[in-house]
């Protein structure tokens, strides 16, 4: 029996039902169960009924999805205290597939010739897949896997770093360069934002984050949407512990050349600046120029146009009165933020889910917001722990968690003030 809060990911070949792998923290499900889970879906498909998900009374869920008519991914979640939502499971399956494509290429996965060989090759994705599974509820403040927007960290003195990144990328014969701080994008070239699909950015960041221990590496990657069949090179260098720079490039330059010449030429003068930035981001994701109200517990700001997101979860209260209630644990706040985002996006707001990659035949989960005749633009929740406020404008989505002490009628102005304060200070 699956334990509560456990999560299992199964991968089988869609046509024959041969299990490729099964990942998850808990004990692997018995083969008979895996077989039935797959069989149920296959049986339905044979009768023209495509099974997409199911739920039990304690919040356990099973979500099925077939990719490229070749691989079937099944996510099984145990219910219990913090049940994983269907949206999270769907995003998980999509991210896992994208990771597999990124590492192995679409040809390999779509046309399976030798199952045994594929089984061996897929092992190279395990570390990424395991990371994705852990990230479902880990409280690290990375929401990109759910929001399909790149997690960002806005730096205060951004002009010089951006210039350096641009010229470094250019020197590396590439248009796609990115500076990563603790797995979040600090800066990226213009093409990085405009040409890469948000889903690609999310899995690329996951890959870069998983490489953070290495000082430099040259990794062949397939872009799930941009270049699913032709591999390109991902060059990744560690500038400081926690700060990496990476470029997507063609055959040139070699890793040695780039590491030896370009790195020192462009980045050495900036190391002190970067160190300062790193210290600042350790204190707070937001630059010090942004004055957040003290009663804001956490927030998620999404730029809907550039598909970037900032997650803020203050460690300490600035300027709080002495008798203010203590902050919730940051893990709980991020959990609440995740739930609130899922809640708002599945019911009211448009989720940024228009991925051209997913073919039309894929079962779209029910879109509750489609049923509204008028457009929901804001929403709030008052719970026992905090108050949540969400607002959506053509450019932004803001999800805000505040103390219970904030009067409900003031939530709206708190939210709009916060939004304008952040956008004014960071140009996000």
């Amino acid at each position: 029996m699956l334990q509560a809060e456990a999560l299992q990911l199964l991968c089988l070949t869609a046509s024959s039902g041969v299990p490729l792998f099964s990942r998850g923290s808990s004990k692997q499900l018995p083969f008979s169960i895996i077989g039935s889970l797959n069989g149920v879906h296959m049986f339905g498909a044979g009768h023209g009924a495509q099974l997409s998900s199911c739920e039990t009374e304690h919040g356990s869920r099973v979500v099925w999805r077939v990719f490229q008519e070749s691989l079937m991914l099944i996510a099984v979640s145990g219910g219990g205290g913090s049940a994983i939502s269907e949206l999270q499971l769907r995003r998980l399956l999509e991210n896992v597939w994208n990771c597999m494509v990124m590492v192995l290429g679409q040809d390999e996965l779509a046309n399976i010739r030798n199952v045994e060989r594929l089984k061996r090759e897929v092992r190279s994705c395990y570390h990424l897949i395991d990371m994705l599974l852990e990230r479902i509820n880990d409280g690290q403040g990375m929401m990109g896997y759910l929001t399909q927007c790149a997690d960002c960290v806005p730096l205060s003195n951004s002009g010089r770093v951006q210039e350096t990144l641009d010229s470094f990328t250019q020197a590396a014969d590439s248009e796609f360069g990115c500076l990563v701080v603790h797995g979040r994008v600090a800066h990226a070239t213009e093409k990085w934002w405009s040409r890469l699909a948000p889903q690609e950015v999310v899995v690329l960041l996951a890959l870069v984050y998983s490489l953070s221990g290495t000082s430099s590496c040259d990794y062949p990657v397939f872009l799930p949407q941009g270049s699913p069949t032709v591999a390109i090179r991902l060059l990744c260098f560690q500038l400081l512990p926690g700060v990496q720079v990476c470029v997507l490039c063609g055959p040139k330059p070699s890793l040695y050349q780039a590491g030896k010449e370009l790195l020192s030429r462009f980045w050495s003068p900036l190391l002190e600046t970067l160190r300062g930035c790193l210290e600042q981001t350790d204190r707070s994701i937001l630059p010090p120029s942004v004055n957040l109200r003290w009663d804001v517990q956490a927030l998620l700001l999404i730029n809907r146009e550039s598909r970037r997101a900032i997650t803020v979860c203050p460690r300490v209260r600035g300027g709080a009165s002495a008798n203010a209630t203590p902050l919730l644990s940051s893990a709980r706040r991020l959990e609440l933020l995740t739930h609130f985002y899922t809640f708002a996006v599945t019911r009211y707001f448009t989720s940024e889910d228009v991925s051209p990659a997913s073919p039309a035949s894929e079962p779209a989960p029910e879109d509750f917001s489609q049923g509204f005749t008028h457009v929901p633009v804001q929403c709030y929740l008052v719970t026992d722990e905090c108050k949540c406020y969400g607002l959506q404008s053509p450019q932004h989505q803001l999800y805000l968690l505040t103390d219970l002490s904030v009067p409900t009628f003031a939530l709206r102005s708190v939210a709009t003030q916060t939004l304008s304060a952040i956008t004014a200070a960071t140009g996000f």
Binding site: M1, L2, L29, I33, S36, L37, G39, V40, F43, G44, H47, G48, A49, Q50, L51, S52, S53, C54, E55, T56, E57, H58, G59, S60, V62, V76, G78, G80, G81, S82, A83, S85, L336, H339, F343, R347, Y348, P363, A364, P365, E366, F368, G371, F372, T373, H374, V375, P376, V377, Q378, C379, Y380, L381, V382, T383, D384, E385, C388, T408, F409
Partner: protein
Amino acid sequence: MASRHFTEAVGTHLQSDSRENKEEKGGHDGSDDDSTASSYSNTGSGFSDDLEPEWLDDVQKNGELFYLELSEGEEEALFAQVTASQSAATNHVRFSDKEVEIITESGKKQADSSNKSEAKFKKFAKILRRRQSSKRIAVNRKEGGAPQRPTSILKNQAGQQPGVVVHQQRLKDVYVYLNPKRLCSSSPPSPEKGGLLEALLGVVHRPGGNAGKRGEKLTIHALVPHSPASKCADILIGDVLVAVDDVDVTSENIERVLSCIPGPTQVRLTFETVGPVERCVYSRLKPSPPVSQLVRLLWGEDTVELQMSIAHIPHILMYLSLKLDSESPQEEQEILYQYPVSESSVQLKAVRGIFLTLCDMLENVTGGQIVSSSLLLRNQLVHVGYWKEGSNLLVLGVPASRVPLLYLQTVIEGVVRTLKVMYGSLDSAFCEMENGSRLDHFFCLFFQQLIQPSHLIDSSRPPTPDISGTLFLDGLPAVRWLTLPADIKVEVDTVLSDFESSDFGDMSEDFYGMRRLYVILGSCLFYKGYLIANHLPKEDLLDVCLYCQHYCLLPLASEERVGQLVVWREVFPQQRAQPSPACHPGHCEPHGRYFLLIVGLQHFMQCVLLESGGCASPALGSPGPDCVYVDQVKATLLQLESLDAGIEERLCAPPTPCLSCADWFLPAGGRDRQDAVGTSPILNRLTAAIKPPSPGSIGRNLFGELGSGLRGRRPSPQRSLSDSGSEGHVEGTGPFTSGLSPFATPDTVRRTPSSGTRRDSLGSGGSDGSGGNAGFFKIPRLKHPNPFYLGSLKKSLTERETEEMHNVLKLTAGAENTLFHYVLMETVQGIFIAPTHKEVHQLSGSIHPQLIQNFYRCCLSIRHVFQQSLPTRDRRGSERPQSTRGLGPVKEHGVLFQCKPENWTDQKKPAPMMTYWVIGRMLLEPVPQEFYVCFHDSVAEVPVEMAFRLSFGLAV
């Protein structure tokens, strides 16, 4: 079962025949009640001239009764509509004439046959009577409505216009839906009883004197009631069945042909008909008047056609057995019940293996019961809900477009509870053969309400609640309540209490020294679908209400004047069925049986819960309705009828609390505005908006102690204004009404503020009632007819008056009334209040209906959040350990919507925007309440304040 008013004897011999039959039946049954009943009914009911109540024939074998009769006004209107669409009404005449003759013959033939067939014939005769009467009315219309003896019309017409009648042998095709599975498989129908022809199709063919003769023509001599043939109005007595699905049939091979029908299917029957093929007869069915659609469904007619109309939408209900008997594997043996048996469900039925496997497997894997799954069927997302009961599984599949996933659970819980109330348990509902056709009817209604509610309710009537609205309001564990002025309320309660005391005088059992048949546990009273009095415990009320909701009795009573409605059935109230955990020493709940009696007259409907056993005599077998009790309820309702006007006045009174229409908040486009202002509806809206201080019945009640000026206006001028809109001046209304009479142009309305009276009232400040009098209708100087006068009105009132108005009439703060819609649910009482249909209708604009639809959809979501945060109960009743799940307990949830007018033509200016909140709040203290409100964004509101203000006026 259908029945229509029958005033004049159509065929005297027929009626007397049926009377005899009834009496014979009574004697045959030998029940004591029956004989006493018939003697009672004569004296007890002052309005029925018959010796026996009309509904007596409809009582089924198991004692259940569902008898619905429209009032005559409705019937006439209905048939008038029909006649309008018919061109050749004369053709009916001939037919009817023919029918009568045929009946007489068959009646004579059957006179010496068994009792059973007599009973059948009696029913048949009644059907005929009904048909006859309908045609009579049709003819009457044509003749200018002169009441004449129908038979004579028939005869005359036939004689005078023989040329019209085409005596031609013609063929007609009729599609009939047959289900061999409904037949009792144990005993194949014997040929003497008419064989399959009678059992399956419902066609009675009596091989005449030349029986034995081979290949005899299959003339239809009679139709079995409730059979497919009789439900399909195209098959007429005297027709000759010549082919089934193009296979020629005679009396020789018909049984063989019919036995070849493997499963439920639609067959094409070809008939040779003597008369002209009358399309017009069928046209009565196809574009049938929308009013009657619901009634027809309740009558059990025409379900196939409605079913066909939703055939393209996948939906299914199955009751599956999880225990498979592997020793005798039979095809589809695990399906204990299924509806519908049509193409819409074929695909879902085919994948039932998925449902069974998932149910079994997920319990093993996750330890929890499966509640729902989603699958994609022909590019349509279908949600499947599950309910496991013992070793059986109830599966309900509905398209996501009709039922959002987050409300599927509520829907399925509603069905299960209704079935349990009606049958005791799911197993007894589904596993007993005889329930088959009843369940078909039950689920036909269920899916019709779920999938195309608008088909059942006339679209011309007040804004049809869209699917979200129906889902939300029906899903609330509460009944719609209508607040009444105290005097009426007291009177209603007194009358009900009198009835519940069971003191029927010489009609009661006590009078004759007998033990009481039933104890009246309580009753509740509906007026036009609103609950106006309830003397039932909450859970019982909800059980009763579920039944009423399911059979659409509430909308029925509000839309049509019910001539007579009598429902009787055994019920299994859920609270009483379960052994109560709290044991009081020395007290044990009586193990009685419970019966539900619903009687409707006009717009009133009373539901009575009766108990037998306990201190009343135990019920034996399946007793039918008792005439005394039915008559007593009727008498109660008749007594209440005098209150009709008062309640109607309350319904017509302008909305309290005051509501605004969304359209007022949008500056309309130039052209539209002219149109809108020119019509009287805007005036109605104006009055509706100004109305709050008007002495509506509620207002009267609350303002009773106010100054004399107020009392003087009691005749409620606003009512006539906002209601009819065509009446002239009403006495005693002062200058205001004259200014705002329906004939006044908007300009006069605008000008009136400058008139002297008004300016005076501005200064008067309202120290007492007389000051308030003028002040009430003070209209501030405005460039546009702004409906929001209330803010300034308040200033001119005394403090206390302002206070009261504030509490009761206007919920929102600020100068303008910004409240659009609200729903308040009292969880403890099991009631909710919401603006009445009429109030909503008065506010009809282009955006407002959309807003209300949105409101309800949003409420679905809000309520789902509340539900999740409540201490959830397992299906098995044990309390789950409360965990901080997801967001944790939610107390309040609001959504801000933005809307723009549709078809904004002005390209230069950006479309105006209107934003409004939909907010829900759950209160646990002091009394559990749920409160949903929709208001304009202009004012920062504290919803809890509004909730308290709203519940202030709610006295139960």
